[in-house]
Structures are given as C-alpha cells and as structure tokens.
C-alpha cells in the first residue's frame, strides 16, 4: 500500500502519527497476520511522521510548546505499551509453537520439542 504524505508543520505530523498509532491499537485488538502486517506498515508511517517532526523542528528552529511535549509523551506511553505487548505476544506464540511441536512430533532425546516440518509432502512418479 502506497501512502503519500505531505505535512505543513510539526503539529500536523505529530497529529498524523497519533492517528496512525490509534489505528494500530485497533488493528492489534484481533490477532491475524493481515492485521499485524497492516500494523507494521502503519508503524513505519509513524516512524516517517516522527522523522518529519524532527526535521521540521530542526529546519524551523521553533520551540515546541507544552501541548506538543505532552503529545510526544503520550506517544511514548503508547509505544511502551506496544513494545511490552509484542514482547509478551512473542512469548505466547513461542509457547504455543513449543506445545504444538511437542504434541505433533514428541520430544527429542534431549527433552526438547521435535522441530516442526510444515512443508507438504511430495510424491514423484515416473
């Protein structure tokens, strides 16, 4: 998905980043690979939008106000939640995969779950 972005000032960029972050939170409410991919794309947008904020601040040399600072702090809080969410989700998925591997293939001699072979079996004739 191609997104074109043009921002007039740093406030506008920050507003767009916060809007994207809200969409990410909505998407992650339901686990699906599509939602996660779309979230990753939106997060890349957030990164670009924040890059724009930094560039515009440097270019204009303007001093951000208190409201601007609180906007950044709110984004930081949301990013902290997301970081924790992804870390815990990784543990959850790893646990699931371990359980599936153990149920599907049993355990190795060293007591670890057997690796999971997910490719389809092929038979060649002739």
């Amino acid at each position: 998905m191609e997104r074109t972005t043009e921002y007039g000032d740093a406030h506008e960029c920050l507003q767009a980043a916060r809007q994207s972050m809200r969409q990410v939170k909505r998407l992650l409410a339901q686990p699906s690979a599509e939602a996660a991919d779309e979230s990753a794309a939106l997060l890349r947008d957030v990164e670009i939008q924040l890059g724009c904020v930094a560039a515009l601040l440097r270019q204009n040399g303007s001093k951000p106000d208190l409201e601007f600072r609180s906007g950044i702090e709110e984004l930081q809080d949301e990013v902290a939640v997301l970081a924790r969410f992804f870390a815990e989700a990784d543990k959850l998925f790893s646990g699931w995969l371990h359980a599936i591997r153990a149920r599907r293939g049993g355990y190795t001699e060293r007591g670890q779950a057997e690796p999971l072979v997910l490719v389809k079996k092929l038979s060649v004739e002739g």
Partner: protein, 476 residues
Amino acid sequence: MGNLFTSLNSTSQSLQAFEQAMDVVQNNVTNANSPGYADQVPEMISQDFQAGTGLSGGVQETTQDTRNSYADTAVQQSMSLQGMYQQLQTSLEPLESVFDVSSSSPIPSALNQLFQSFSQWSSQPSNASYQSAVINAAQQTATAFQQAAGELNSIQTQTTSDIQSTVTQINQDAATIQSYNVQIARNPTPDAGLSAQLESTLENLSSLTNVTTIPGLGGMVTVLIGGQTPLVIGTQVNDLQAVNDTTSNAGNPGAPPTISIVDSNGNDITGQVTSGSLAGLLNVSNTMLPALIGGGQQVGGLNTLAQGLADSINNVLAQASTTSTPPYQAGSPLFTYNSSSPAGIAGSLAVSSTITGSLLAAADTGPPVVANGAALTLAGLDSSNPGPIDGQGFTQYFSSMTSAVGNAVSNANTAETAQSQLVAQAQSLQQQVSGVSLDEEAVRLVQLQGSYDAASKVVTEINQTLQTLMEMIPTD
C-alpha cells in the same frame, strides 16, 4: 437370517451414534457462550464387521473434548499477570493523591509556605506577626504530614484486609475445584458441563494467584501454587492463610509487620506467589508501602522526611539565640515527634506546645553575630547544597518519592494495558484451537509471529525517534 439381524442391529447402532453426535452439536450450540466451555467434537469410528466374533459393523460415536491444555494454561497465565497488574493499578491509585507534586498538594504546599515564612521572618526577626506566621506554617506542615501518614496507614489497613479476602476467595475456589474432583471420582464419565465449570473456576483462581494445573485420572485436576505447593490434590484441599510475620519488624517499633502466606502445614509460601491479584497486594503491602510509611525493617521515606525536616530546623534554632546581644538565649525547638517509634514519626509530627513567637531564635551568635543569621539559614535550608536528607532538599526528597510512586503507577498502567490485549489474544487462540489441525495452527502462528516481529522492530525504532524528539524539546 443371521445376516439380516446383524444388518438391522448395525443400522440401529449407527442411528444411535448419529443421534448422540447431534446431541453433542446441540450441546455445543447451547454452550457457545458459557465461560470455560470447550467444543466437544463427535467422532465416528467405523466398527469391524465380524459376525463370528460378535462385532457388528456400523459406526460408533465417541465424544472428543477439544479442550487444549496449553490453550487453557496460556489463558490462565495471562489472566494471572493481568490480575496482578490490575490489582497494582487499583492499590496504587490512592497513593497518587498523597504523593502529588503539584503546588496545591498538602506537603509541597506546606513546605513552600514554611520556607517562605522563614524568609519573611528573616527580614524582621522581632516582628510578632512574622513570628506567628512561622508557627502557623509549621502547624500546617505538621498537619500535612499527619494527614499523609494517616492516609498511607489507611491504605495499608485496606491492603491487609484485601489480602485476607483474596486468600478467602482462593480457598473458596480451591474448595469448588475439590468438589469437582469428588464428582469426577464418583462418576468418571467425561462431562463437558462440569469441565466448563472447572475451567471457569481455574480462570478465576488464576486471576487471584499463579497456579499450575496438572490433569489427572478421569479429568480430576491437581492445582499447585507457584508450581510447588499443592492447593488441591484429588479430593484434598490445602487451605492458605495470610498471617502477620511478627519477627519481620523486630527492632523497628511501631512498624507494621510484613504479611506472609502460609499453607495448612504452616510453611511460608509467600515467595511462590508471583502473579495474580494476591501478588500485587503483597507487593504493595510488603514492599511499596513500607518504603513510604515504614514496615518490616524499613522506616519509610515519609518518616525520614518528617524527621529530617524537624531535626534540621530544631538544630538551627537550638544553636541560635533569641537575642542578638548577650546574654544569648538558645532557641526552643519548633517541632516535636515520637522518636521511640521511627515508623510513626510523620504521624506524630507536631509543633512544640511550648513554642511562642518570642522563643523563635533568629540570631546567629557567630562570630560575627548576625541578628537574622539563623532565620536566613532556615529560609535557605530547603535549597542548600548538599541538602539535609541524603544530599537532597526537603521538597526535592518529596519529589523523588512522588516520582517513584508515579513510575510504579505508570508501569502498572502500561503492563495492565498490554496484558489485557494479551488475555484477549490468548482467549481468542483458545477458542480458535477447537477443530483446527495442529499443522494449520502452527503455520498461522509462525506467520503471526513473523508479522509481530516485524512490527516490534519498527516499534523499537519509533521509540528511539521519540527519545530524540524529547531531547530536542526544552524542559522549561
């Protein structure tokens, strides 16, 4: 004829099997929204047709419980962590009102007024209304400390009461699980309804404390706390108790003892309680509150602050004189507190009953003698460098306590928000596992993990960008 009867018998059994299968489907539909219910999958198994040995062919229905123990465990573990963070949120919220750094908050406001009154008094040490303003401001400061101590003690009392009621709830859930085990022992036929009730109880128990469930014969479960201490084994229950550890506050008179969780044999299992609301409450009661108001071996930051403030001001006054010319008259202490109970200093902080304006010593006897020297020292005490308490000024010390509480609240909020989403994910996966092949599930999980990993890396980069932005914004 033999073949005809065998065939009729086979057809009859097949119909019974399909009827049972329809019952299972009906049961699934009815219980779709029952908490803890797992789909029962009807399985048709073809029977060998061997008339000679009495096997009659046809199909036989066996009900396969799709309950996945890992799915259930994942939900229970997520709920256990969520329970802890939710409890931390609830218990820490009232602390924020006590440790509020804003200028309208009682302690910072009182400290500000007290040092302003010293400053005003230093301009005219013999001015009776300025002396009176110092005593009034000191009175407000003592009241602010007493109120804060009272509120913290009330939070401590509430937390202790919450621990007792949580332990009671845990014991009630354990008794419920034990009664399920008794029913299963009497009738080992799989019962989806009973299994759903059991799962629902286990989820509730998980939100209270960290439990491990080990499935046993016929569907009976063994429940352990912290993976070690049995709570329910078969038809036996090991009741828990919350007790005051009377040895914990030895040598710290007035400090509340720490609370321990013991099993029915009197073994201390507090260290094994690592999640669930009980862990959150124990953390608040045994770690966070003692650091603020004292408990166990700790004096508590608020008491340290109250004592530091009183001692610093009283010392300056004791070394100063009420007159700037001989004979010098040492000043009287402004504050008093109960020194025999270090954990109760903030609560007992008061203005000396004997102090009057004329007993406030403003003069530094030097040499050289400075008529308002002591008053000036007092006015600058809060901003002196290094400060009187661990190198910090009084307001700064209070701010660091406020900051610690604020961070704890913020961490609890962040963790709770993330954990709520994870509980939703774990529950979603738990529901989706029914009827899905393990291979398909694994492929889906690998895809999901990969996508999440990609998003997670971007989050790390965004965090760095935000940090850069914060550094670009001036703090003043």
